[in-house]
Symmetry: C2
Subunit: 290 residues, 2 copies
């Protein structure tokens, strides 16, 4: 404990929300949902992760990864007490991080956090920031609209064979959740054909498309499911599994029939374009109990 933890967590509704933004469309969607509730949002886009456009016209302060001191100073000056991390973030190289003085003081624990899986890294960083008096929340706590509902989105329904594949995929993800790796598999004909680890869902889907093109994967087009699930003991304040229109494109290119994600524990980026794309491609999208 540092002795610097002066601001006790509170309901936070009156304080502006500090939203640290990685890549993708989700950070701005969360910002809009929170603003619609009448809460002020201060954006902290991360250089190298968040796209440069989209922040003009919104209150924001760019951060380098590693600038913990700058974040604490600016967020306090803005009156923030609650903090949300949202958006994609490629695991940074130790050497590309440019720590400021606050981070340098904590380097031994930063290095300890660095070894191990992604959850390990994020939960260490989260615990560390909470010691400075901030409350770390999940994006779904401030913007529940982003969560995947239970049941079908769009017009296409999964077949019975697809439902069997979904069950097998969920079973696999339950068995491997404790290893802190990817949260997705592709299952076709009761056969697990791809497992996501560090490469990410989009890369895994490209691999499935490649296996189909090369003849290595020969299930009929339109069969097979992308299954994404929350890890059993995942800290849901970080990195809930997410899907968006690009996921639908990847699933269609891989010749699969649909997408199943854990309802209430996965995030849908841009739901309207996702449903339009899914219906057009004949892809089902379903939220299932985990």
């Amino acid at each position: 404990m540092t002795g610097l933890a002066t601001a006790a967590p509170d309901a936070g509704g009156d304080s502006p929300l500090a939203l640290v933004c990685g890549g993708g469309s989700l950070p701005l969607a969360v910002a809009d949902h929170v603003a619609r509730r009448g809460r002020r949002v201060i954006l902290f886009p991360l250089i190298g992760a968040a796209a440069p456009d989209g922040f003009a016209g919104r209150e924001h302060h760019w951060l380098r990864i590693g600038q913990v001191g700058r974040f604490l100073k600016v967020a306090r000056a803005e009156g923030c007490r609650d903090l949300v991390f949202i958006g994609s973030l490629v695991r940074p190289s130790v050497w590309s991080v440019r720590p400021d003085w606050r981070t340098v003081l904590a380097l031994p624990r930063a290095f300890a956090a660095y070894r191990g899986g992604d959850d390990h890294l994020l939960s260490r960083v989260g615990a560390w920031i909470e010691e400075y008096g901030f409350r770390l929340l999940g994006a779904h706590e401030v913007a529940p609209e982003i969560l995947m509902p239970e049941g079908q989105l769009g017009r296409v329904s999964p077949s019975d064979a697809a439902r069997e594949d979904i069950m097998l995929g969920l079973d696999y993800l339950r068995a491997t959740g404790r290893f802190d790796i990817g949260q997705a598999v592709v299952v076709a004909d009761k056969h697990i054909v791809a497992v996501e680890a560090a490469e990410g869902t989009d890369e895994m889907l490209k691999r499935v498309a490649g296996m189909r093109a090369s003849g290595r994967l020969r299930t009929a087009p339109g069969k097979g499911v992308l299954v994404k699930a929350v890890k059993p003991d995942q800290d849901r304040r970080f990195d809930l599994p997410s899907i968006g229109p690009r996921t639908v494109e990847g699933v269609a290119s891989a010749g699969l029939g649909g997408i199943a994600v854990t309802a209430g524990a996965a995030v849908v980026a841009e739901p309207e374009p996702l449903v339009v794309a899914a219906d057009r491609a004949g892809i089902f999208v379903i939220g299932v109990a985990s």
Copy 2:
């Protein structure tokens, strides 16, 4: 049961061995080991899987995948009672298989065998052939020289960090063995960075090389381990995990430090060139208890 099972299994030492050959260098290595023991070997290379050269000067009969009737007829005429499947075989398309009449009679069970994982398919085919009076053996039973020994091959030893990564990889493979998928992972810095499913080990290693090139994987070069293990309840007569010189090349290209495989339950194709390649690349190769 078909009533056609006339030849009871016996010790088989006097009968020639029927060796059904997929791709890679292993089938001819097994044939040589068996021949060196003084047993006659009849090769049955599979069209589309076995390389066309290498069989001249050896007793052989080409087979199409699906020609069960032809196999039974020729193998019986040669006096074979024991059968070994060896070499790589990409899961064939249902539509590319050209069944002969014996296979057609059994089509309902052939289709049942086809749904599900690779072990499922192979064990069904194996049980089926045994009903015709053949004894199905593992390649390691007729040629134990091909098995990976316990301990280090070559001059390079794993570091303590590499040993931790090996333990984590084996733990993962134990947890997922029941799913009948790939038998390999890449672990670096106590983090599972790639999991093999239908794509095969070489493709997984290319993915790791790609993640390193794109900056997605940023562990130091020379760290990280390819871990291959036998599945807990695998029928060892089929498809034991294997490594060869090409595996060493893939591991070196992926910037990893070494290879760990389950001793006594994995196959080493071309051990001499493998050790030369590993020593030259500074890669360790170790056989570990599973």
